[in-house]
Every structure is written in structure tokens, then in C-alpha cells.
Point group: C2
Chain length 150, copies 2
DNA sequence: CTCATGTCAGCTGAACTGAGATAC
DNA sequence: CGTATCTCAGTTAAGCTGACATGA
């Protein structure tokens, strides 16, 4: 039995837990959650979309998407408009408040990134991002289902 | 607002979620959980300990440790013996079944590692482990409290 | 009929919080 | 006294499952 602390999966989940905690705490100070940021930035980045599309873009389950959008709608950050071309769907759009919110949360995240990755120099940060990206791409595409709504 | 998919913290939590899921599913097939493995391997690796010490070694909270040990004790994998030198403490020891269990779970994890890290070659795996280890060490020691029981 | 969409209620493992009893 | 250990009850965000009604 080898030491747990050298297992990549252990290190991965532990550092992720740290990072997630720091991000969550940071979001909590302004009354937001991770899902809010992901949805808002996806809308700002990729434009209006249906809820199902948003789920695919962000990796958030449809059922969770409903909840997140309820909260964002209550806060005045997004609007749900029925899609006339397909009456099953809503078109989710950012309000002006939502655009501002997306920007301020984005700044928040940028600060937190530096906090989490502080012990790494620039080339190491790039390395880590590249490696994680490789893993993410691989598991996202092949071998595993495209995540939500399956 | 930049794309979420290039943020290290996003990649970190997403890949960790994948890894965690694969590990969990693998454990579930033999009726175990992540906490079980961490506790058993810590005992096999570092020898008998009090519950609080185990918590520090594994990064598991004291309250969760109680639950995990209850389950492991019910399965016959560990024993709780009162410490005569300090009657607040228990001495947690592995049974022979627990030793076997630690080994079999360890093999399971080894397979899962390869599954998760499959897209990376050997030097990339080593890089990733080194980078994560650096982050883990940093956040474990300085800046953040030593995790459980604080 | 099949499939996609949106909604709702609930579950899980992991991490964490707070309170209390006991013993150092 | 303060501190450490163990236990128990509860909370959170994230990810996930199943069921259902509606419409393409």
C-alpha cells in the first residue's frame, strides 16, 4: 500500500477542493455561486441560448440549470423569453445588470486564480493549464458522455 | 469576460470531478467509499493512530472520521481500542481483513489512475503530479489552516 | 411514436460547522 | 481553568437521477 499523498487523483481532488473552496468563499461575499458565474459568463461569451444549450456549454445539468436560472432571474440578471420558433424552448438573455455582474464576477475569479496558483511561476501555470486541458478534453469527448441531459 | 474553459480553477474542479467520479464508481462496485480507502491506506502506511491523528494524516474532518470509522468497524476492517495512556483517545488498528481490504482497494485505485491519466505520457504524468503536489503543499502548510479539527 | 425541452423533487459523497460530553 | 478528543446533528455546493408535461 503506497502513500496516498503521491496519487495524482488524491492531489487532484484535494487541490480542487481547495480551489473550489476559495472560489466559493469569494463568490459568497457578493452573494453568488459557482453556477451563477458559469451561466453568466457563458451568456456573455457565447450569446443568448436555450437552457439545454446553456447546459451543454457549461457542463451544468438541466435540473440544476433550472434552479440557477430561477435565482439569476430573481436577481434581475437574466430574462427568460419564449422562443417563437420552438415553443418548448426559452431564450435566455443577459440583462444589463447581468452583463455587469458577469464582468465583476470575472474580475473576482481572476484574483482568486492568482491566489490559488500563487506558488507556481508563469511557465508552470501554463503547464498545469495545458495538462488539465488535455485531460478535460479527453474525458469530455471520448469515453464519457457529453455530460448533462443524458 | 473570458471563456470559462481556460480558467485553471475551472479545469481543476472539472477534471477533479471526473477523476472523483471514476474513483467513486470503482469503489462503489466493491461497497467502499473514498474516505474508507483514505483511512485504511493511512493505517496501513502509517500504522495505528488516534482518530484525531488519522484526521490530520488524511485531511478528513473529525466528524466525518467518526462516521467513516463506524462503517469500517461495522465491516470488520478496523478496531477501536481505548488508549490507556490517554483515556480520551482511541487507538485505531487494522484487522487482518482491513489489511487485505487496503491492498485490494489500492490495486483498484492504481487501475483507475491509469484510466484517468490515460491521455498523458509518463513525463506529463510526472509533471502534473509535481505541479499539483506543489500547490497542495503550499496550501496545506502556509496560508491555510491544517484542515481538520480547527 | 420518438425525441428534446423545461420543471420538479429527491439523492449522493465530500467538505464543513457547531454543540456537547469527557478527559488531559 | 483552558485545551484536546470523540460523538452527533445539521448545512452547503456540486453533481446526478428519475419522473412528468409539453411540444417538435
Amino acid at each position: 500500500v503506497e502513500s496516498v499523498e503521491h496519487l495524482p487523483s488524491w492531489l487532484l481532488t484535494q487541490t480542487a477542493a481547495r480551489a473550489g473552496r476559495v472560489v466559493s468563499e469569494s463568490f459568497a461575499t457578493v452573494g453568488a455561486r459557482g453556477y451563477h458565474y458559469r451561466v453568466l459568463s457563458s451568456l456573455a461569451d457565447g450569446g443568448p441560448a436555450s437552457q439545454a444549450d446553456l447546459g451543454r456549454r457549461t457542463g451544468i445539468h438541466l435540473s440544476d440549470m433550472v434552479k440557477a436560472l430561477n435565482e439569476l432571474e430573481a436577481g434581475g440578471y437574466i430574462r427568460r423569453v419564449p422562443n417563437p420558433d420552438d415553443r418548448r424552448r426559452n431564450i435566455i438573455t443577459l440583462t444589463s445588470q447581468g452583463t455587469e455582474r458577469a464582468q465583476s464576477l470575472s474580475l473576482l475569479v481572476r484574483d482568486v486564480q492568482q491566489q490559488v496558483l500563487q506558488p507556481l511561476d508563469e511557465s508552470e501555470k501554463a503547464q498545469l493549464t495545458a495538462l488539465l486541458s488535455k485531460l478535460y478534453q479527453h474525458h469530455h469527448r471520448q469515453g464519457f458522455p457529453p455530460l448533462p441531459s443524458m
